[in-house]
C-alpha cells in the first residue's frame, strides 16, 4: 500500500495537518502536500477512470503533465471539474470527488467499454453507427456523449472573482528551477528589468529533489541564497504559483497566477491573469519524463520514476513497500536510491539497455539493489492496483523470464524538454539522437517585432539534462545584451544518453501492444497508432485526430513523443521526418474565469449613461441597449404593458407634451476654413451654403454609396458647423471624419471635436412645447424668433441652453442642449414645469412610432447597409450639382443605378392589422433554386395609436410607381397579409403641426 513515511518530506509541515475529503471519505494530509501526495499518503491508488474504456486510473505524475488523477474539486458555486490533483495544494476542508464513472469509482458500469475494447479501436465510430440514419443523433450519439466528458458540469455561476494585470519587463524568465534562477540573475546583472515565473508554489525545480549539492553548497542552502539575492533586487520580480502558459507575438506572454486556489473564500481573487510584454523571453521550463510502453502500463501504481522520487523526497510518501524500477536511462536509478534511502524495497531495476555502467547504476548496485540489463516488463499484473510484474528480455517477444510481486512500478523512458513555449510562435525543433528528444533549434527561433530572436531556452528545456552542464553553460555568461547570456549557452547534453526504447519488449505481439497505453486519459494504445498508420492516416496530424492521441487534458505531454515514435516505426520513417503536431497555447489548461477577468456583472461592458439616467430609473423606465448606451424604451406605469405605455406616450405627445432624453444623439463640431468644403464631401447634400443660425438635414454614405448615417447639421458661425449623428453613430462618424481628414485630405484646414457627451439634450415635443419653454422662461422661442429649422443660444429656467427647432415627430418640437452637468436638473425642471401642461416622458419606441407615422426614415430600420438614399425617396437631400461626395461613384454602379430597384413606400393593410415585422412582399413563382420570388419587404411596421391602425413602410420593386396597388406580405404561419401601397406620410402630410 502507499503510505506516509515516518520521516522526511521537504515540503510538508507535519505541525500543520489538514483534513479533506475524497468521495466523501475524510482523509488527512499536511500543509505542503498536493492533493495527489495526500491521496497517496492515504493509500488512495485508484483516483479516476479513463475517458473511453473507463479503466481504473491512478496517479502517474507529480506535475501539470498528469493525465489521470483529475477530480471534481469543491462543490456548488465553487465546483471545479478536471482539477489535477498533482498541482492542487491541499487545504483544510478541501472536497474532491473522482470523475467519469457510474455508479462509483470502484464499480463503474462504463467499464463494459473496456471488455469490448477489441470492438472499439481507434476511429471505430467513423466506421459504424451509419445506419439507420436517425440513430446517430437519437441513439448512438447520446450514449457516446454520456460516456465521454470527464468532470461534472457546474450548475451555477462562479462564486469567485478574477482579475488581470499588465506587466512589462526587459527579460521574462519562465520556470524557477536552477536554470531559471541563474538566467534571472544573469539578466539582472546585465541591468535588465526581470520577471521570473514559477508555476508551483516553490522554486528549485527538479534539482532540489535530485541533487544534494549545487556549486559546492547543500542544495537547499544554495536555493535560499539565490532566492535572497534575487529578492533583494528592485529590478527582479518573482511570482510563484504563476504559470506562463502562452507565448504570443511581439514578446507577449500570458501567465495565470493561482492567487487563492489554496485559500478559497478568503476574498482575494481566485486567479490573476498576467499579460506580460517582455523584450526577451527565457524559457527554463525543464523536461517531462516519458512513460515506457509496456503492457499494463496504465494500471494504478505504475508511475513516472521522477514522480515517485518527488513524492518520497518532497512529501515523504511511499508509493508502496515494493517498487520495481524500469528504465532506459540513468535518471531512474535515483528513484531506486531514494526509495532505498527511505527504507523501502526495490526488488529489481529493469534496464532495457544492454549495459548500465554510469555512476548511478553503480551506486544502485552498491546499495544492494538488483539490476537487470537488457530486461523489460512483459506485463504488469493487477486490476485496480499493481500486484506484480513479469520480466522478459527487451530484445524478445515477451517470453516471461520471471515474476516479481510489487505494489508499484517506477518507469522512465527518458526526458522530453518542454519546448511548448518556444514553439508557440513558430520556434523550430531539432531531433537530438543522444537523448532521443526534440530540442529547440537556436538557429530558428520565434521572431520578435523587430525580427530578432524572441525566445532563448535554458536548462533541461534546451535539452541540457545534467546539472553540471547547465551550471557550466551559465559559467560562460558574457554579461552582454539584455539577457546577459549567449543565446546558445545551453545545449543538448552529450553526457546524458537515452537510447530509444519505444515499445517494451521490442518484438511485442499484438496481444501485448493492445495493452500498451500511449495516451492514458484518452485510451490510445500502441495498436491504435499502428492501425491508423495502416489505414493511411499517415500525417502525424491525421494520426492524432484519428486516434485522439495527445488530445486529452494533458495535451500529449506524456504521450506525444512515444506516439510519434510508434507512428514513425509503423511508417518506416525517421521521427524528425514524421514531425510533431503543432504546439498550441495554453501549456496547461487555464480557468476561463481568469481569461474573462474583471468583466462580469456591473463591469461586464461599459454601460453608457446619460446625465438623466437616474431620473429615468426612478420613473420606472424600461431600458433598451442602444450600442453601449441604455435608453428608456418606454416608461410603463403600474399595470401597463410596454405596448400600452408606448401608445399612451405617443398619444400624450401628440395631444399634450412629451419629453425625450435625446442626449445620446451624436454631436460633432467641424470647424475651419475648409469645413464647408469638407462637409460637402461628407454629406450627399450641400452644407457649405447653410446660413449661420439655420439647420439642415443631411445624409452620409460610405464609399460604396450605401446610406450610413443621418442627422441635422447646424451652422454655428462662419467657419463652424455642428453635425448631429444617430446615437449609435457618433464615434463611428467622428472616426470617419478624422480618417478622411488625416489620410486623404490632410492639407484641408478642418478640425473636428466630438462633443456628444458635453451636452444633455431634451426633446420637448407636442402642442404644449412652446408653453413649457415659456414657463421656464429666459428666451424668446416664438415662431417668429425661432422658426422651424433654426437654432438659438440663450437661457431657459436659468440654464444655459442651445435650442434647436427641429422635429422628428411631426409635432411642434424643440431640442434643447444643456451642459451635461446640468442635464439632470434641467430634466427635473422640465418635468416640474410640464406637470401643468400634461408632460410625460416618452421612450425610444414612442419616438419610433411617431417618426413612422410621419414617414421619416430610421437608420438601421430603413437602412441595412445595402440601401442607398435614392431607394428611400431621399433624392431631395442629394445634391445634383456637386461633382463629388463620398459614395457618389459607388452609387453610379450598374446595380445601384438600376431604376428597377426596390424603393421605399408606405403600406396600409386592408384589414387595419399590423404587417408582421420582417415580412416580405411575395411575387409569383419561384426562382431557379426553388425559392419563392419576392418583390419587396417591410422595413418599419407599427400599430399607430394616432390612426388606430397598422402602418408600415417598406421597400417595393418600383414602389413609387405603384400607388394604390394591393400587395401581399408573407406570414410565418404560411398565410399572407394584404396591404395597399401608399405614400409614407401617414400623419399631418402638410407639416402644419410642426410649423406652428
Amino acid at each position: 500500500m502507499s503510505t506516509r513515511l515516518a520521516k522526511g518530506g521537504r515540503l510538508i509541515d507535519r505541525m500543520a495537518p489538514v483534513e479533506f475529503t475524497f468521495n466523501g471519505k475524510r482523509l488527512r494530509g499536511y500543509q505542503g502536500d498536493t492533493l495527489a501526495s495526500a491521496l497517496l499518503a492515504n493509500d488512495q491508488m485508484l483516483v479516476g477512470r479513463s475517458f473511453k474504456y473507463h479503466r481504473p486510473r491512478g496517479i502517474v505524475a507529480s506535475g501539470p503533465e498528469e493525465p489521470n488523477a483529475l477530480v471534481n474539486l469543491g462543490s456548488g458555486a465553487r465546483l471545479e471539474p478536471n482539477q489535477r490533483t498533482t498541482t492542487t495544494e491541499v487545504f483544510d476542508g478541501l472536497e474532491a470527488t473522482s470523475q467519469n464513472h457510474w455508479p462509483s469509482l470502484k464499480f463503474d458500469v462504463g467499464v463494459v467499454n473496456n471488455y469490448a475494447a477489441r470492438f472499439l479501436p481507434a476511429g471505430f465510430y467513423y466506421k459504424t453507427f451509419i445506419h439507420p440514419r436517425p440513430f446517430w443523433k437519437h441513439v448512438f450519439e447520446p450514449i457516446i456523449r454520456r460516456s465521454a466528458g470527464l468532470g461534472k458540469a457546474p450548475t451555477t455561476g462562479d462564486a469567485d472573482h478574477y482579475e488581470q494585470a499588465y506587466a512589462f519587463c526587459d527579460v521574462l524568465v519562465i520556470g524557477g528551477g536552477v536554470a531559471g534562477l541563474l538566467a534571472a540573475r544573469a539578466a539582472a546583472d546585465a541591468g535588465s528589468r526581470v520577471i521570473l515565473l514559477e508555476q508551483s508554489a516553490t522554486l528549485g525545480g527538479r534539482t532540489v529533489v535530485d541533487e544534494t549539492m549545487v556549486q559546492g553548497k547543500p542544495v537547499d542552502a544554495w536555493l535560499s541564497a539565490i532566492e535572497a539575492d534575487l529578492a533583494a533586487r528592485d529590478t527582479v520580480t518573482i511570482r510563484t504559483r504563476t504559470c506562463g502558459f502562452g507565448v504570443y507575438d511581439h514578446g507577449y506572454v500570458l501567465a495565470d497566477e493561482r492567487v487563492a486556489d489554496h485559500t478559497p473564500g478568503d476574498g482575494r481573487p481566485k486567479h490573476r491573469l498576467w499579460r506580460i510584454r517582455a523584450g526577451r523571453i527565457i524559457t527554463a521550463t525543464g523536461a517531462i519524463e516519458r512513460p515506457l510502453s509496456f503492457a499494463g502500463n496504465d494500471i494504478p501504481g505504475v508511475m513516472l520514476a521522477g514522480a515517485v522520487r518527488d513524492y518520497v523526497v518532497n512529501h515523504a510518501v511511499s508509493p508502496g513497500d515494493r517498487t520495481v524500477v524500469v528504465t532506459n536511462n540513468d535518471s531512474a536509478y535515483q528513484t531506486a536510491l531514494a526509495l532505498k534511502a527511505a527504507g523501502l524495497e526495490v526488488p529489481v531495476i529493469l534496464d532495457a539497455r544492454d549495459s548500465a555502467t554510469g555512476a548511478l547504476p553503480d551506486a544502485a548496485r552498491a546499495a544492494g539493489i538488483r539490476v537487470l540489463t537488457g530486461r523489460a516488463i512483459a506485463k504488469v499484473k493487477g486490476g485496480k492496483r499493481v500486484t506484480g510484474i513479469s520480466v522478459c528480455a527487451q530484445a524478445g517477444e515477451g517470453a516471461v523470464l520471471e515474476e516479481v510481486p510489487c505494489e508499484a512500478v517506477a518507469m522512465s523512458g527518458g526526458w522530453s524538454p518542454v519546448v511548448h513555449l518556444w514553439s508557440h510562435c513558430g520556434g523550430k525543433l531539432l531531433w537530438d539522437e543522444a537523448i532521443s528528444a526534440f530540442v529547440p533549434d537556436p538557429a530558428r527561433p520565434p521572431l520578435n517585432h523587430d525580427g530578432s530572436a524572441m525566445v532563448t531556452v535554458v536548462g533541461a528545456a534546451a535539452g541540457c539534462l545534467s546539472l553540471g552542464n547547465i551550471l557550466a553553460g551559465f559559467g560562460k555568461a558574457s554579461g552582454k545584451g539584455a539577457i546577459g547570456l549567449p543565446d546558445t549557452c545551453q545545449t543538448p547534453d552529450g553526457s546524458v544518453s537515452v537510447p530509444p526504447v519505444w515499445v517494451m519488449p521490442q518484438g511485442a505481439p499484438i496481444a501485448l501492444r493492445s495493452k500498451m497505453w500511449l495516451d492514458f486519459q484518452n485510451d490510445v494504445k500502441v495498436s491504435d497508432v499502428q492501425l491508423a498508420a495502416r489505414e493511411g492516416y499517415q500525417s502525424v496530424e491525421h494520426t492524432k485526430r484519428y486516434t485522439t492521441l495527445g488530445m486529452a487534458t494533458d495535451q500529449g505531454k506524456l504521450s506525444n513523443i512515444n506516439g510519434l515514435a510508434v507512428l514513425a516505426e509503423a511508417l518506416g520513417q525517421d521521427i524528425p521526418q514524421v514531425g510533431t503536431t503543432t504546439f498550441r497555447p495554453p501549456y496547461t489548461p487555464v480557468t476561463i474565469g481568469a481569461l474573462a477577468g474583471e468583466a462580469r456583472g456591473e463591469i461586464f461592458q461599459p454601460l453608457r449613461r446619460t446625465p438623466m439616467h437616474e431620473a429615468h430609473e426612478k420613473s420606472g423606465a424600461y431600458f433598451e441597449p442602444v450600442g453601449l448606451w441604455r435608453r428608456p424604451y418606454c416608461f410603463p406605469r403600474a399595470g401597463e404593458t410596454h405596448e400600452q405605455a408606448v401608445h399612451r406616450e405617443v398619444l400624450n405627445t401628440r395631444e399634450n407634451l412629451g419629453l425625450l432624453d435625446a442626449s445620446t444623439l451624436g454631436k460633432i463640431i467641424v470647424k475651419g476654413p475648409d469645413a464647408g468644403k469638407f462637409l460637402d464631401m461628407l454629406y450627399t447634400g450641400v452644407m457649405s451654403t447653410l446660413p449661420v443660425g439655420k439647420c439642415r438635414y443631411g445624409l452620409m454614405c460610405n464609399e460604396q454609396g450605401f446610406l450610413s448615417d443621418d442627422g441635422v447639421v447646424a451652422r454655428i458661425d462662419e467657419d463652424t458647423w455642428l453635425c448631429h449623428t444617430t446615437s449609435g453613430g457618433a464615434d463611428r462618424i467622428h472616426g470617419w471624419m478624422e480618417d478622411w481628414l488625416q489620410c486623404e485630405w490632410w492639407d484641408w484646414q478642418v478640425y473636428t471635436a466630438n462633443v456628444t457627451e458635453q451636452y444633455a439634450q431634451v426633446a420637448v415635443v407636442g402642442p404644449n412645447a412652446r408653453k413649457l419653454l415659456q414657463a421656464l422662461g429666459g428666451m424668446d422661442v416664438s415662431r417668429e424668433a425661432l422658426p422651424f429649422m433654426q437654432w438659438a443660444d440663450g437661457t431657459l429656467g436659468g440654464f444655459p441652453v442651445r435650442v434647436y427647432r427641429i422635429s422628428f415627430s411631426g409635432e411642434l418640437s424643440y431640442e434643447i442642449a444643456v451642459p451635461a452637468s446640468h442635464g439632470a436638473a434641467f430634466w427635473a425642471a422640465c418635468t416640474e414645469a410640464g406637470k401643468a401642461l400634461g408632460a410625460m416622458p416618452y421612450g425610444t419606441e414612442a419616438l419610433h412610432v411617431m417618426r413612422a407615422e410621419k414617414g421619416f426614415i430610421m437608420i438601421g430600420d430603413e437602412t441595412d447597409g445595402t440601401v442607398i438614399p435614392q431607394d428611400l425617396g431621399l433624392d431631395w437631400a442629394i445634391s445634383k450639382k456637386k461633382t463629388d461626395y463620398l459614395g457618389k461613384r459607388g452609387q453610379e454602379r450598374t446595380f445601384l443605378a438600376d431604376p428597377d430597384r426596390w424603393k421605399l413606400v408606405g403600406f396600409e393593410t386592408l384589414d387595419g392589422s399590423v404587417v408582421p415585422d420582417g415580412a416580405y412582399v411575395i411575387a409569383d413563382g419561384t426562382n431557379a433554386n426553388g425559392q419563392r420570388n419576392v418583390q419587396g419587404r417591410v422595413t418599419s411596421t407599427y400599430y399607430s395609436p394616432t390612426l388606430k391602425r397598422g402602418i408600415a413602410m417598406g421597400l417595393l420593386h418600383q414602389g413609387p410607381t405603384r400607388m394604390g396597388d394591393v400587395v401581399e406580405f408573407n406570414t410565418v404561419a404560411g398565410g399572407t397579409v394584404k396591404a395597399r401601397v401608399r405614400d409614407m406620410v401617414f400623419y399631418d402630410r402638410d407639416g402644419e403641426k410642426q410649423n406652428v
Binding site: 475517458f51 471539474p81 478536471n82 479501436p121 466506421k127 459504424t128 451509419i130 446517430w136 450519439e141 456523449r145 466528458g149 470527464l150 468532470g151 458540469a153 451555477t156 455561476g157 462562479d158 469567485d160 510562435c425 499484438i510 492501425l531 495502416r534 489505414e535 493511411g536 492516416y537 500525417s539 496530424e541 491525421h542 485526430r545 485522439t548 498550441r584 495554453p586 489548461p589 480557468t591 476561463i592 474565469g593 481569461l595 474573462a596 462580469r600 461592458q605 441597449p625 424604451y633 460604396q704 447597409g865 445595402t866 454602379r893 450598374t894 446595380f895 415585422d917 420582417g918 426562382n927 431557379a928 433554386n929 426553388g930 425559392q931 419563392r932 419587404r937 406570414t971 410565418v972 404560411g974
Partner: protein, 415 residues
C-alpha cells in the same frame, strides 16, 4: 473498397484489425488529368466527389500543399446551419445542410452530422427585428426556422442565463435541423470516396505556378513537377491571393486570422448550438464533452495561423456572461486559422479572367457548413463551364456591379 459497418468491425476485431484497407491511396501524380483541383480541404474534396458522382468525371487530381483536411476544414467549430437571410446564401447553405443529412450514408463514413439545433439569440429589439426578417425570408426560401420565446430558449438550453442584467434574451432564431458534424471526418470521408472512384489525392504537393496558353489554363507547376490539366479548380482558403496571382488576377479578399478554442471536457450539459451575436460569442458541446467556442477575427492581414489573444478574451467575457457555468472550466486548447474575407463576406464561386480556371474562394468564417453545397455547385460550374443556379450569384464580378450578397445586414453574422 471494403464497406464500413458494425459487421465489418466485428469481423476485423477477430483478427486484431489487420485487414482494413487504406482509407485513401497516396499515388504519384500522372502527367495530366482532365481536372486538377488545388486544395484537398473539405471544399476541394467535395468538388472532386461531386464531379465524379454527378458528372462522371473521375480523371481528377486533388493537390494538397500539406496534409488533406489540414486547413480550415480541421480548425473550425463544426457548426452547420442554413438560416441565412439573402436568397443566394440560403440556397447554397440549405443545399449543403440537406446534403449533410445523408452524407454519412452517401460516403459510407460516419461524419457524425448531428442536427441538435442551432439558436441565434436576440438580445436587443433591433436583433429581434433582424431575426424576424430572416425567419420570414427563410419561410420563402424553404429553410425551416422559427423565432422562439425566451422560455423556449431556456428549455432548450438550461445553462443559458436568459435574464442577464445587460442583455436579457428576448428570443432566438431557431433552426432545429442545424447542428454540428465531425470536421475531420468530412474531409476523410470525401477523400476515401474520391480515392475509391480512382481520383488521385496528392498530398505534400504545393502549386508554384499556373501555366496557360491562349488565355486558357494548361496545367500547374508543383513541387512534384508539372501537372497538365484541361480544367483547373482552385479551392483553397488562406492562400487564395497567391494562387490568383499565379493565374494573373487580383481578388477582393483579405486574409485574416480567426480563432477558436475548446474547454476541457465535461459531462453533457448543452445539447444545442448557441450563437450570441450581440456579445459576439458562440458555443456548443462536442461529443467528447469539450465546450467548443468560436472567437472573432483579427482586423489585419495575417498568414501565421496565430490570432491576437484579446479576441479570445472578448469571446470568453461574452460567454461567461451568457453561460455563467463555464467560468470554472478551463481553456484546453486555442488555435487559429486563416480565413479569406471578401468585400461582402460572401464567397466567390466563379469563372475567372483565365479560361478554364475556376475559383471557389472566400468562405470567410462560414466555410465548414457549406462544404457539400459548395462542392456540388463548384462541380457543376467546372463540369459545365458555366455556373448553375447555386453558384450564379457568387460571381467574382459582382463587386464591380455593386451586386452584393451581404449577410451582415441581418442581425446575424456568418460563422
Amino acid at each position: 473498397m471494403k464497406r464500413y459497418s458494425v459487421f465489418a468491425i466485428a469481423r476485423e476485431a477477430m483478427r486484431n484489425h489487420m485487414g482494413w484497407d487504406r482509407a485513401w491511396a497516396s499515388p504519384e501524380p500522372k502527367p495530366a488529368y482532365d481536372v486538377v483541383i488545388v486544395g484537398a480541404g473539405g471544399h476541394g474534396l467535395a468538388t472532386a466527389y461531386y464531379l465524379g458522382r454527378n458528372f462522371g468525371i473521375t480523371n481528377v487530381a486533388i493537390l494538397e500543399k500539406g496534409w488533406l483536411g489540414g486547413g480550415n476544414t480541421g480548425r473550425n467549430t463544426t457548426i452547420i446551419r442554413s438560416n441565412y437571410l439573402q436568397d443566394p446564401s440560403a440556397a447554397i447553405y440549405e443545399k449543403s445542410r440537406s446534403l449533410y443529412e445523408t452524407l454519412s450514408q452517401d460516403l459510407n463514413y460516419n461524419v457524425m452530422f448531428s442536427p441538435r439545433g442551432v439558436m441565434m439569440l436576440a438580445q436587443t429589439h433591433h436583433e429581434v427585428r433582424g431575426y424576424l426578417r430572416t425567419q420570414h425570408a427563410n419561410a420563402l426560401q424553404g429553410v425551416a426556422t422559427e423565432f422562439i420565446s425566451p422560455q423556449r430558449v431556456k428549455e432548450l438550453c438550461p445553462i443559458l442565463n436568459i435574464d442577464g442584467p445587460r442583455y436579457p434574451v428576448l428570443g432566438a432564431l431557431w433552426q432545429a435541423r442545424g447542428g454540428t458534424g465531425r470536421h475531420d471526418a468530412v474531409a476523410w470521408g470525401y477523400a476515401r470516396a474520391c480515392s475509391d472512384m480512382g481520383m488521385h489525392i496528392i498530398q505534400n504537393c504545393e502549386v508554384k505556378g499556373v501555366r496557360s496558353e491562349g488565355g486558357k489554363v494548361t496545367g500547374v507547376d508543383t513541387t512534384k513537377g508539372f501537372i497538365g490539366t484541361k480544367k483547373l479548380g482552385m479551392v483553397v482558403a488562406g492562400h487564395s491571393g497567391q494562387l490568383a496571382e499565379m493565374a494573373g488576377f487580383r481578388l477582393p479578399i483579405e486574409a485574416v486570422a480567426l480563432q477558436a478554442l475548446v474547454s476541457e471536457p465535461i459531462k453533457p450539459c448543452m445539447d444545442v448550438v448557441v450563437m450570441a451575436n450581440t456579445v459576439h460569442g458562440y458555443m456548443s458541446q462536442s461529443d467528447k464533452g469539450e465546450m467548443v467556442i468560436g472567437g472573432g477575427t483579427d482586423g489585419f492581414n495575417n498568414y501565421t495561423q496565430r490570432g491576437s489573444f484579446h479576441h479570445i478574451e472578448e469571446t470568453l467575457r461574452a460567454l461567461v456572461e451568457t453561460f455563467p457555468i463555464i467560468s470554472r472550466l478551463k481553456m484546453l486548447r486555442q488555435w487559429g486559422g486563416i480565413v479569406d474575407m471578401t468585400g461582402d463576406r460572401s464567397p466567390l464561386i466563379s469563372k475567372t479572367p483565365l479560361g478554364n480556371c475556376f475559383i471557389n474562394f472566400g468562405w470567410g468564417t462560414g466555410g465548414f457548413k457549406a462544404i457539400p453545397g459548395s462542392g456540388w455547385a463548384m462541380a457543376e460550374l467546372m463540369a459545365k463551364g458555366e455556373p448553375g443556379p447555386l453558384a450564379e450569384a457568387f460571381s467574382m464580378w459582382r463587386f464591380k456591379e455593386g451586386r452584393f450578397i451581404d449577410e451582415s445586414v441581418a442581425a446575424g453574422v456568418a460563422h
